[in-house]
């Protein structure tokens, strides 16, 4: 298992490098630059700024400089928020985004697996059909619909949860986390149900039944773990989606997370900021996929071999 982790981290480095270089050059292909405002700057100031940030050098040299600084842990300065380095901006936004994403994944897992279990046990009956319908609705509704709807209902009408910002206590987390978790929970519910439906037909379940075990024990001890394999493979991309998808929710609920910097950075051509956030996301996604692989091995030991 340790060997797997080490090997994965080794392949992570070239992967990250590729992503960084690709984003670097793609971003430069887009027209415009960080210093194009509504009023154009006079050419001298423009040139001076370009020189300060090294933007006058050949593109490949800039890329090399960026990567070699990154290797030392330096994400560079922000071109738009001029008083901050990218690291400082990230340090502000990351905790909020990670809290949101992490809680949303947990909530989605709890709701999704529970709902999927209930549906699988009652397969074909009313409970199953209603859960599956709700799951479809949950996956289909985009967060920019559920977010404002939640805010309208619980925030404005009932007045029990804050509509915007990070107030005191933890109540500000509830709506954004729920809005983020809903579509993921729906997908997990469907995957869990489908996984269980397959596993419960398998021979080893009959063996367990032949031992006269109670049905709940058969379900939890013999059935659930292999049934969750599809859920685990969904978790990696889902975590990625939660991080990037959080942009919408952060905007709706006015939270100072990473997503905001990502979008504004891209619009302002704040190259180091966008690259920094992309690098971070890519690193997190690689990490999540590694987690998913480790979870695989636990769910089904046969996968540890391959």
């Amino acid at each position: 298992m340790l060997a797997l982790i080490i090997r994965r981290l080794m392949t992570a480095i070239p992967t990250l490098l590729l992503i960084i270089l690709a984003s670097f050059f793609l971003m430069r292909l887009a027209p415009g630059g960080p210093f194009d405002g509504e009023r154009p700057l006079d050419p001298e100031t423009q040139a001076a700024l370009q020189q300060t940030y090294g933007l006058d050098k050949p593109l490949w040299e800039q890329a090399w400089l960026y990567v070699s600084r990154l290797a030392q842990g330096d994400f560079g300065p922000s071109l738009v928020y001029r008083d901050f380095t990218v690291s400082e901006l990230v340090a502000q936004g990351l905790p909020i985004s990670l809290t949101l994403g992490g809680l949303a994944i947990l909530l989605a897992l709890v709701i999704g697996v529970t709902a999927g279990l209930c549906a699988a046990v009652q397969a074909g009956k009313m409970v199953d059909k209603s859960i599956m319908m709700l799951a479809t609705v949950a996956t289909a509704l985009p967060t920019f619909v559920t977010g404002p709807a939640l805010a309208l209902f619980f925030g404005l009408w009932m007045g029990i949860l804050p509509v915007s910002g990070t107030g005191n206590g933890l109540s500000w987390l509830v709506m954004p986390v729920v809005a983020l978790a809903l579509p993921v929970a729906g997908a997990i519910a469907k995957l869990t149900r489908a996984g269980l439906a397959t596993v419960l037909q398998q021979d080893h379940i009959r063996t367990a039944r032949a031992r006269g075990l109670p049905e709940t024990k058969i379900l939890f001890k013999h059935g659930l773990r292999p049934a969750l394999v599809p859920v685990a493979s969904y978790l990696g991309p889902a975590a990625a989606g939660l991080l990037t998808g959080a942009v919408v929710v952060e905007t709706v609920f006015g939270l100072p997370g990473l997503g905001r910097y990502f979008v504004q950075g891209a619009l302002n051509r704040d190259y180091p900021l966008v690259l920094g956030v992309v690098t971070l996301y890519a690193g997190l996604i690689i990490l999540f996929n590694l987690f998913a692989d480790l979870i695989y091995g636990w769910l089904d030991p046969r996968m540890r071999e391959g």
Binding site: H204, T207, R211, P301, R302
Partner: protein
Amino acid sequence: MSLYSLRNLSIDIAGKPLVENVSLDVEPGKCTAIIGASGSGKSLTCLTPFGLTPGVTSGEIILDGVNLTRADRYQMRQARSQHTGFVFQQPMTALTPHLSVGSQLQEAARQAGASRLSRHELAQMLARVGLSRTDERLDQFPHRLSGGERQRVMIAAAIAHQPKLLVADEPTSALDASLRAEIMDLLDELRAERNLGLLLVSHDLASVARHADQLVVMEKGRVVETGPAASLIAKPREDYTKRLIAAIPRLEEAAPTLPAVGDMLLTTRDVCIVFPRPGWRRGNIRAVSDVSIEVREGEALAIVGGSGSGKSTLGRAIAGIGAMTSGEIRWRNEILPGRRKRTREKYGHIQPVFQDPIASLNPQWKVIDIIAEPLRNLRPEFSKAERARKAKAVLQEVDLSEDMLGRSPTSLSGGQAQRIAIARAIIAKPELLVLDEATSALDALVGAEILRLLSRLQRENRLSLIFITHDIASARRVCHRIAVLEEGRIVETGAMEDVIASPQQEITQKLIAAS
């Protein structure tokens, strides 16, 4: 009084009667065996009384003096956990993949309410069923064990709670021929040692004759004949039983007369096939090493070996659908190139037939398209009408009627599907068929018909065969010569009758004993 009795048992699934009026008894310490073709309801008869199929029973079920006929789910569970152990057909899938052998054994031992067993006691259980390195095995997951080892674990788990009745549903069918006898002997020992009643489902007549006391013959959900095993097999009364017994190839039967052979058709020299180890592990697996064989016109060669001996890999390389690392294959003394370089015409000489007939036919296609496909590819000059005409003709050759053409593979029985697979293989007039366990997945009666069909094609079309199997008795019905493969090498080869009469190698003796 009997340990277990069924009286006029009938089983319905979704309103469809599948088993009717079956009565049988199992005595303590004795073995009652049910034999019959597939679909005869023998597994249903065994498992449904314990609630292990979706079937609904009527009639009387009496286990150890307790009437289970109208048992509710709780009582049924009690009956399973207290007095009965089960061994199933597929050892590969019957154990839970994510629980260690030790924890599954512990669960089995405690199912009747016993207290927790020590590691030492669990290890002893594994030792009792003939496993070595028991301490290590307890921590292993099932996939690390071979099929035979897993079946031993299944048996250990089935008897761990000291049941009175053991229900074994084809416990050896999925195992290597050489292992079958060992598992049956183990069941015999345990039966004697613990006064265990055994209800056995089998289609292996030879082993039933050796191990069973009572025999129940079933056909289409009904009992055809019952009686003491030895006398029933020696003197079957009913026509169906006679046919069933005659269908099962046995080495005692008279040697068949096989057609004469002609010129050299196919020779291989020093064929080696090496695969990289799967996953991250280093090194290679030598699946086939230095194999040289020859097949003449009209000749049938049996390639025989246990599972993992490399026989299928070799067959695939010869048919041009698998890789070959080194060595050469010659066709009429001309080099036959490997998989990618083989021309259409050369592919046409050799056609494969596989083990699982239904899985080897594309379920989305109609039979006519399946049969005609080789023509489309190998004989592009034919028109559609011509292909259809040829498809009809070839259906007759395999004894199927024309109305098969419009059907889809999923609606076919195993025997029909295998005939279609053979029709597909012979439509482009190949000279050699590579049959990979082509009769192994079929039940005795159907398998015998396929063997008859092959021997007719051999005679009438002068078709050469490479017959890959683990069952020497089946191979003997069509094959002139035999090559025994072990760990990728040919360890023994010669004329079929000579090798059967005086096998030199241990593996050959084992395979013969198992046939």
